[in-house]
């Protein structure tokens, strides 16, 4: 059973069509990227999933049905517009939020100790939230999202305000949740994190799904007939290579139709003047794909 199924949902606010037609499903044990440019309809889609807005049309199923109170308890949601009670102390705030999700206070307290220690917040537990740094508050938000051990985790820009060490920590935590069989929906603009973490993505633009599937498959499909080469020596003319351009310390070669990457690799291996250190199919980054799809759509719309 899918953790979330969104089927052809649409939502408008007065004259503004925020979501036109979005569909996707999220399975347990995967990290799912919900991507799109600003104003694409991501937040509206998430809020429809969270039953904050009702869709004008389409169907949404969360954890096997309509989002009732028991199902709400199985969701961990970290919205884009987020915060904690600034004039409350950290520990009671997090315990309060966990008890609202149906966790007994004693259990919440035990779990919280583990999380606070892991996130290096234990010594700050008696401080007011407003006394914590932005990064600490962000980690506290992550704890609030996970303390009740939800089956579905929805996190919007989870890495904002975090330094590289804490970013890595949160990445580890998210991956742990996936390994534990939880479904994780992550909305972010940081594409390399999507590439690192997400199994599948949906790209929404102007309220509609424009790209949906496995990250690997999407990248493979978007790859042209090109290879990337790194090495040293003199790179001479190669048969079947239309164009060679320097890129990121190496070269990107555009191959002629009918030329296979293996043909080029054979030629490089045979030459004595150039030593190959790295050879790979040149796949576009998710960033490139994002820009190409969104800009391409804009061109098509125009």
């Amino acid at each position: 059973m899918s953790s979330v199924t969104v089927s052809h949902v649409a939502k408008s606010f007065g004259q503004v069509q925020a979501v036109r037609d979005v569909s996707f499903s999220v399975e347990p044990g995967e990290i799912f990227g919900l991507l799109g440019p600003n104003g694409a309809g991501k937040t509206t889609t998430i809020r429809m999933m969270m039953d904050i807005f009702k869709p004008d049309r389409g169907e949404i199923s969360v954890l096997g049905g309509r989002l009732d109170e028991p199902r709400k308890d199985r969701i961990g949601y970290m919205p884009e517009e987020r915060g904690l009670y600034r004039d409350l102390k950290l520990e009671p705030t997090l315990i309060y939020l966990a008890t609202l999700k149906g966790v007994p206070e004693s259990v919440a307290r035990q779990r919280l100790e583990v999380w606070l220690k892991r996130f290096d917040l234990w010594d700050h537990r008696a401080k007011k939230v407003e006394a914590l740094s932005k990064g600490m508050q962000q980690k506290a938000q992550v704890i609030a999202t996970l303390l009740h051990e939800p089956d579905l985790i929805v996190i919007d820009e989870p890495f904002s305000a975090l330094d590289p060490i804490n970013t890595r920590l949160i990445q580890e935590v998210i991956e742990e949740q996936r390994a534990a069989g939880k479904a994780v929906i992550m909305s972010t603009h940081v594409m390399h994190q999507v590439e690192e973490l997400c199994n599948r993505i949906v790209l929404i633009d102007k309220g509609s799904t424009v790209l949906y599937g496995e990250v690997r498959e999407i990248k493979r499909n978007a790859a042209g007939n090109a290879v990337r080469v790194e090495g040293y020596g003199e790179l001479g003319a190669l048969h079947g290579v239309l164009d060679t351009r320097p890129r990121n310390g190496g070269w990107q070669m555009t191959l002629a139709p009918g030329t296979a990457p293996q043909d080029v690799l054979r030629q490089l291996a045979a030459t004595d003047t150039f030593h190959v250190q790295r050879f790979e199919i040149a796949e576009p980054s998710l960033d490139d794909i994002f820009v190409a799809v969104v800009q391409g759509k804009e061109t098509a719309d125009a």
Partner: protein, 411 residues
């Protein structure tokens, strides 16, 4: 319901642990204690234990009646002197605090002359002298008549329908409903202030979106309202206990407090009006909280609307002139002023049953409408972080079955 109670507990504990709550709750206690200490200090300072002297050439005063005037230990001692010279000598050497000259023609003059050096005789000494004089004048009468005459008259006003009676000899008991009314209104307004703060704090802290995936907006608001009315009742309870303790302490010193009882009829009326009044104020504050982007702006709006509730205090002088004036009757019926006006009029008149029934019914109806409207406005405005919403938009949203168009401008 469990979640509502959790939110209520959180809201309650959050508020009562604040310094501002402690100050608001404990300041009146401090004030009462300070005042009591001051009164006791002044009373003790001024209260001389020395005997009173008197010169009574006509033999008007009868020392034998002193034994009938209650506890001898409490009663000021009296010393008779043959002449004013003797009395004056005793005063100058400090044997007595003052002496009275009782003229032989007191029956027509009806005046005593008190002589003292620097300080007046104490209140108790003067009171005892009055009693001594009256008891002496009545000494030859039949004991029953003497007792009746000594007590004087107690004017008790009773309404023709028997609903109310007022002891006019006791100004404290008479004014108690008036003061209680003001206290209850302050309590309701305080709860409202707390609620506005709590609602806008959810927006300012950006906690709303996360919390409403755990509870519904209605549960959130109900929990907060419940917790915060608890805060106000705690504060009211502390004040009432302080007042009761203050009265108990002051009773031996202040005669007017000895006959003060609990005005149960007023307590009943206050209990009836308190909840709908609180719901009405809560509805208005939640609406303001939903419309305003932050507490500061919400408070500005709430400050003007507070006038609707405290208006009875502004016309309180009219109560002394004509408690049944059409203006006051209108304010009794108007939902926002009903609670204050009913309790304040309680001291001065008998509020007719029809006015009570109509006023309470209007209050309940308005409170219900206000809270329903507030719930919808709150839903519309809860995710409008930093963005105000006009009342016109809120009203137009009321006309739609499901408030979709304004669910979130920022989506």
């Amino acid at each position: 319901m469990r979640r509502v109670l959790l939110i209520a507990r959180q809201a309650y504990l959050h508020e009562v642990r604040r310094k501002s709550f402690l100050v608001a709750a404990l300041a009146p206690i401090g004030l009462v204690v300070l005042t009591a200490l001051l009164v006791v200090f002044v009373t003790q300072q001024g209260a001389s234990k020395l005997p009173l002297g008197y010169v009574d050439p006509g033999g008007l005063l009868k020392p034998a009646v002193l034994s009938t005037m209650g506890d001898a230990d409490e009663l000021t001692a009296f010393r008779a002197y043959e002449s004013e010279e003797q009395a004056r000598a005793a005063l100058e050497v400090g044997d007595i605090q003052a002496y009275y000259l009782v003229p032989a023609d007191f029956g027509t003059a009806l005046t005593l002359k008190a002589c003292f050096l620097e300080k007046w005789p104490s209140d108790r000494a003067r009171s005892d002298m009055n009693r001594f004089l009256r008891a002496s004048l009545l000494a030859d009468l039949d004991p029953a008549v003497r007792q009746r005459a000594a007590e004087g008259i107690t004017l008790t006003l009773r309404t023709s329908d028997g609903r109310r009676s007022m002891d006019m000899s006791n100004p404290v008991a008479f004014m108690l409903p008036f003061l209680s009314g003001i206290l209850f209104v302050i309590t309701v307004m305080m709860s409202a202030g707390y609620l506005l703060q709590a609602v806008t704090a959810e927006k300012e802290n950006r906690t709303m979106e996360m919390v409403i995936t755990s509870v519904s907006p209605e549960q959130l608001i109900s929990g907060k309202a419940l917790g915060l009315v608890g805060v106000s009742l705690t504060e009211l309870g502390i004040w009432l206990v302080t007042i009761v303790v203050g009265i108990l302490i002051a009773r031996p010193f202040v005669a007017e407090l000895r006959n003060v009882g609990v005005p149960w009829d007023l307590v009943g009326i206050a209990a009836l009006y308190f909840l709908p009044s609180f719901v009405l104020v809560a509805g208005i504050m939640i609406t303001i909280g939903g419309l305003a982007p932050d507490y500061r702006q919400g408070q500005q709006v709430a400050g003007s609307l507070n006038l609707l509730f405290v208006a009875p205090l502004l016309v309180s002088t009219l109560l002394f002139i004509n408690p049944d004036s059409p203006v006051l009757v209108a304010m009794t019926l108007f939902p926002t002023t009903a609670f204050a006006m009913v309790t304040m009029r309680w001291s001065f008149t008998v509020v007719p049953i029809w006015q009570l029934v109509l006023s309470w019914s209007l209050l309940v109806a308005t409170a219900t409408a206000a809270v329903l409207f507030a719930a919808r406005v709150f839903r519309l405005g809860m995710l409008r972080y930093g963005q105000p919403m006009s009342l016109a938009k809120a009203v137009s949203a009321l006309r739609t079955r499901r408030p979709r168009s304004e669910e979130a401008r920022h989506a």
